[in-house]
């Protein structure tokens, strides 16, 4: 395990040095975003010279950036008003759901995607069900899953539904897109059918798989609010957003949204790191 992580810090510093200018651009862009946000808030609050005071109805819907930042920082040290949990607890609860939902989706989507990609018959068999369930918005499943599967598994399966389909389609596309020339080359090098699958098809599919993972994770986080609307034992960031919006505490709600954004970046980042390690391993194994 150590071998995986040592060299990571050196790689990080190297990446930093190479990309400093782009990082600077990103920083400036984010700063500009915060400024525009502040301006819009000021406008809604009527604090700007040409402010619209009679829009006071909607002023609180666009709180000032520092109000949100303050609320975000406070949420870690103050219990929230309705579940009496710290933001740390919410993050833990949501991370558990995302991780389990992701793991289930991975275990289901990867083999199925590979099968559907390589076997026309399998694709024909699985297609009707896949196409039937794919367009259903995860939100629609909320009441059914919560009652049928309970408060623990309901939200997890909700997250699963969000991640499963993008992952499946990515893997299937990857399996279909294997360069036939590579398969020819493998055959002339003595590979049998199983070896062609494990040593050519699988590695070819990995980039598509990783894209599917990243897209799937993003969608999983998008589902988390719907998933944690009901049940939500132990709270969760999605629950936090839903609850604070209900009582009109939009400052807290935005803090919750920012938290999800950060967590999404974190999980995608971890996926990216794993991807790099995986490629290295595939190259030299």
């Amino acid at each position: 395990m150590n071998a995986w992580f040592n060299g990571l810090d050196k790689a990080f510093i190297k990446a930093l040095r190479r990309n400093w200018f782009n990082l600077l651009l990103s920083g400036i862009s984010f700063g500009a975003f915060l400024t525009i946000w502040w301006l819009v808030s000021a406008w809604f609050h009527g604090d700007w010279p040409f402010g619209f005071r009679d829009w006071v109805d909607t002023a609180e819907y666009i709180p000032y950036p520092w109000v949100v930042i303050q609320a975000f920082l406070d949420s870690f040290s103050h219990r929230d008003p309705f579940s009496e949990l710290y933001m740390g607890d919410h993050i833990y609860a949501s991370m558990k759901r995302i991780t389990l939902g992701f793991a289930l989706a991975f275990v289901a989507a990867v083999p199925l995607g590979l099968l559907m990609g390589r076997s026309r018959k399998s694709e024909a068999i699985a297609n009707p069900e896949v196409e039937l369930f794919r367009p259903i918005p995860p939100l629609a499943w909320v009441p059914i899953f919560t009652i049928a599967l309970g408060f623990i598994w309901g939200p997890i399966v909700m997250v699963f539904m969000g991640i499963f389909f993008p992952l499946l389609f990515s893997v299937r596309l990857g399996a279909k897109s294997v360069d036939p020339l590579l398969i020819d080359a493998a055959r002339t090098l003595g590979a049998n059918k199983i070896q062609i699958f494990t040593k050519v098809v699988l590695p070819s599919t990995v980039p598509y798989l990783m894209t599917g993972v990243k897209v799937g994770l993003g969608i999983g986080w998008m589902c988390i609010v719907a998933a944690e609307m009901l049940g939500a034992v132990g709270g969760g960031v999605g629950w936090y957003i839903w609850g604070t919006a209900q009582v009109g505490r939009y400052d807290l709600m935005y803090a919750g949204m920012a938290t999800i954004g950060l967590l999404s970046i974190l999980t995608t980042g971890v996926a990216g790191l794993l991807e790099q390690r995986l490629f290295k391993w595939m190259g030299t194994k």
Binding site: D179, A185, R187, T188, L189, G190, F279
Partner: protein, 275 residues
């Protein structure tokens, strides 16, 4: 390297291949016969669509035959196998593997242990002149270097024959010339039997012991020309130019025939009077 010093490495007799797509069928090859002796360098030359790549793929076992027999080293060709190595025009390297690991692919398939694998791949890396690039990925290499990997990889299983499908077609002129000389060097070091498909007359005359000129579709052998020149060959020498001329003559005639046939297919009424 192979014990069989006597007799043909490749014996093709009456090979024919028909491709059917829906209700259309194409006679790619008809009664193609060829004998390649052990350690020979043979070039297959012919107009586009004459089926030269098809011959190669059938010998490799990547394509099935419609009729005839194909025997390599005394064994009938049924499917692809490690005794026939292939080098592709588009290189077909595994992008996720390093140079060394690409070369070792065939050895992985037959589960050669680590020590031996690395011994063999190291030798091949030196042979094709890629020392220092063992841990690079294909995307970091130039076209010429990639094909060196392709050649080394095909040689790793110590195949009886090496099948090369326009291997230098994707390279620029300078690199191409260089690679031709490199290939001859490698060939002389390994003494492999090589079946080489090309478009280029110049390339064929430079490389081959014998040049097999194919007819237009359906392909069969039109003429086999024995180059008969000692290597290294001088492209500007009188003898070289003379052989080249002979080959070109045959080819041009075949081109004309192919064109005439095409026109005939398009205007059967006019063809009838031309006959």
């Amino acid at each position: 390297m192979d014990g069989d010093q006597v007799g043909a490495s490749i014996r093709i007799q009456g090979l024919s291949k028909v491709f059917t797509e829906g209700n259309r069928s194409v006679n790619a090859l008809a009664d193609f016969s060829l004998e390649v002796r052990n350690g020979e360098f043979i070039c297959l030359l012919g107009p586009s669509g004459c089926g030269k790549t098809t011959v190669l793929r059938i010998v490799a076992g990547l394509e099935s035959k419609s009729a005839g027999s194909v025997v390599v080293k005394g064994r009938e060709v049924v499917s692809a196998g490690s005794n026939r190595g292939m080098v592709f025009q588009e290189f077909a390297l595994f992008p996720w593997r390093t140079v060394r690991r690409n070369i070792e692919f065939g050895l992985d398939m037959s589960q050669v242990p680590l020590q031996k694998r690395q011994e063999i791949s190291s030798k091949l890396i030196d042979l094709v002149g890629l020392r220092g690039f063992e841990d690079a990925h294909p995307r970091q290499l130039s076209g010429g270097m990639r094909q060196r990997v392709g050649i080394a990889r095909a040689l790793a299983n110590d195949p009886a024959v090496l099948l090369m499908d326009e291997p230098f077609g994707s390279l620029d002129a300078q690199t191409r010339n260089l690679m031709q000389r490199e290939l001859l060097r490698i060939w002389e070091a390994t003494k492999k039997t090589i079946l080489f498909v090309t478009h280029s007359v110049d390339e064929a005359v430079f490389l081959a012991d014998r040049i097999v000129i194919m007819t237009a579709r359906p392909g069969k052998v039109r003429e086999i020309i024995d180059v008969g020149l000692p290597r290294p060959r001088d492209r500007t020498s009188r003898e070289f130019i003379s052989v080249r001329g002979k080959v070109l003559l045959e080819l041009d005639e075949e081109f004309e025939k192919a064109r005439a046939k095409e026109m005939a297919q398009r205007a059967p009424a006019r063809a009838a009077s031309a006959q």
